[in-house]
């Protein structure tokens, strides 16, 4: 990005001289500085901090549903995300792992963890509070359970039905389903 802009500046410089513009080296320097600033701010806009808004998100090697899982990111984790491409963000995790996360796993709003956890943030804004596990949360569920109105036994059993990536791939291969279409 910076390279491209500097290349443009060189062309401008030649153009300016060709046209006998009254243009000093200082002017050229100014243009250069502006160009660099522009390039830096542009590249800064290309990646942005985003928060993982699901309990476990799979970071994949390729922007596809069955891409190899290279890392997992947890609720509240901050990742550096590039430009959204067909539903997928290129990301770098806090551990420096690179891969792709589906947009449904990410939020632009920072997620402030609840007080009492080690990640607890201070001085969070209203929007952050809204995402900080406040509201309809485990505290509310606990209160509901204590009031004795709902039985969660089967909800928990159901939530424990897990299927691995490998099982899905085998299931699709054995079922003769055309693989991994976008």
């Amino acid at each position: 990005m910076i390279g491209t802009v500097l290349f443009d500046v060189r062309i401008w410089k030649v153009e300016l001289r060709k046209r006998n513009f009254d243009c000093t080296e200082i002017d050229i320097m100014r243009i250069k500085v502006l160009a660099v600033l522009l390039a830096v701010s542009a590249s800064a806009a290309v990646t942005a901090s985003m928060s993982v808004q699901v309990r476990n998100a799979k970071v994949r090697a390729t922007p596809s549903q069955l891409g190899r899982v290279v890392a997992t990111a947890e609720y509240g984790d901050i990742v550096q995300a590039g430009t959204l491409q067909r539903g997928w963000y290129p990301v770098t995790t806090a551990d420096g792992e690179q891969g792709w996360l589906h947009e449904s796993a990410l939020s632009k709003k920072p997620i402030a963890m609840r007080s009492g956890t080690s990640d607890a943030a201070t001085g969070v804004s209203d929007d952050e509070v809204a995402l900080a596990g406040k509201g309809f949360n485990e505290q509310v569920e606990a209160k509901l359970k204590a009031d004795g109105t709902l039985d969660y036994t089967w909800v928990d059993r159901m939530a424990a039905f897990e299927v691995s990536e490998e099982q899905i791939k085998t299931f699709r291969t054995e079922g003769n389903l055309p693989g991994g279409a976008q």
């Binding site: 806009a45 796993a105 596990g133 509201g135 309809f136 509310v140 209160k143 079922g175 389903l177």
Partner: protein, 308 residues
């Protein structure tokens, strides 16, 4: 002249771009500054006005995946009070394998707690999509499916209700405004017992709205059509023959006619009208189920659908 004009345009657009980039940061600064200045007059008041206004603007779309997850759990717990689960590990494992291998191709593959499926021990022809991805399918509904491809169509339809947040949309706005106001007012500290009690009331009422829609009143005709259309796309992405949704709906229509308007019939537009609507969108292919898919479908489903 033209060349000079184009050069000037180039330079100007560069400057404009720079202004745009720097402008963004400036706007945020001004915003913060203004907020601080408002705080000088009365920080608490300004904050509370701001929070109140924000809470009122919020809709079900502003519920976070985590909040949706807790609503979905309570919705399913409540639906299970009326529909007993089917405790058949092999059948449930198969439905989860099929359902989760479809969900990865959804436009919303990641939800807070992921997609999970459970069979219900009921002859009523029905299926329920709990917010966040907890999906329930009755034995009666399984009987409408003769192939894995048709069961895939049923699950895809339910996954699409989750994807489009149709369940959450049933929550009355007043409850959400109330809940968001409580959430905003509590700031970053732990909830007090009074706030927790009123929040739990709003939560229960919201869950009640969703359960009422799922079991009694049904989604809107438009939402059903939307879920059907999205299910066709989902089946296509996952490699299942999309015409299976039509054959499934036609069989369901026949069975519903015999069921005397129970279950699905009261919450869904007629299956035949849905099939007719889809006919134009679906790639019509000859439906010859792959032998491997048919074998595993039969193995997993036979004990379930033949039991009385």
């Amino acid at each position: 002249m033209n060349q000079r004009f184009s050069f000037l345009t180039m330079a100007c657009s560069g400057l404009l771009l720079a202004a745009l980039f720097f402008g963004c940061a400036e706007v945020t600064d001004i915003g913060t500054q203004l907020a601080q200045e408002a705080g000088v007059i009365s920080a608490d008041e300004a904050q509370s006005v701001k929070r109140g206004a924000k809470a009122i603007e919020k809709t079900y779309q502003d519920l976070t995946p985590e909040q949706e997850y807790y609503i979905g759990r309570a919705v399913v717990a409540q639906v299970l009070q009326g529909y007993p689960p089917l405790d058949q590990p092999e059948a449930n494992a198969y439905v989860n394998l099929l359902g989760q291998s479809l969900a990865v191709f959804s436009e919303r593959p990641e939800t807070f707690g992921g997609y999970h499926f459970l069979l219900l021990d009921s002859d009523e022809i029905n299926a329920f999509a709990g917010p966040g991805g907890l999906i329930l399918v009755t034995r009666g509904m399984l009987r409408c499916c003769e192939t894995e491809d048709e069961l895939a169509a049923v699950l895809a339809h339910e996954i699409c209700h989750v994807e489009k947040k149709h369940g959450l949309s049933a929550i009355k706005q007043g409850r959400l405004t109330e809940a968001f106001t409580i959430i905003a007012a509590e700031s970053a500290k732990q909830m007090g017992s009074e706030e927790l009690a009123s929040l739990t009331r709003e939560f229960e009422a919201s869950v009640g709205d969703v359960v009422m829609t799922l079991t009694t009143s049904g989604y809107s005709r438009n939402q059903e059509r939307e879920a059907d259309a999205a299910a066709v796309q989902l089946l296509r992405r996952a490699g299942y023959p999309e015409a299976s949704i039509i054959t499934m709906l036609e069989r369901m229509d026949k069975r519903l006619a015999n069921a005397g308007g129970l279950g699905f019939a009261k919450t869904h537009p007629s299956a035949q009208s849905r099939a007719d609507t889809l006919a134009g969108q679906v790639k019509q292919t000859e439906l010859v189920p792959a032998p491997a898919r048919q074998a595993r479908f039969a193995a997993a489903m036979k004990p379930v659908v033949t039991n009385p």
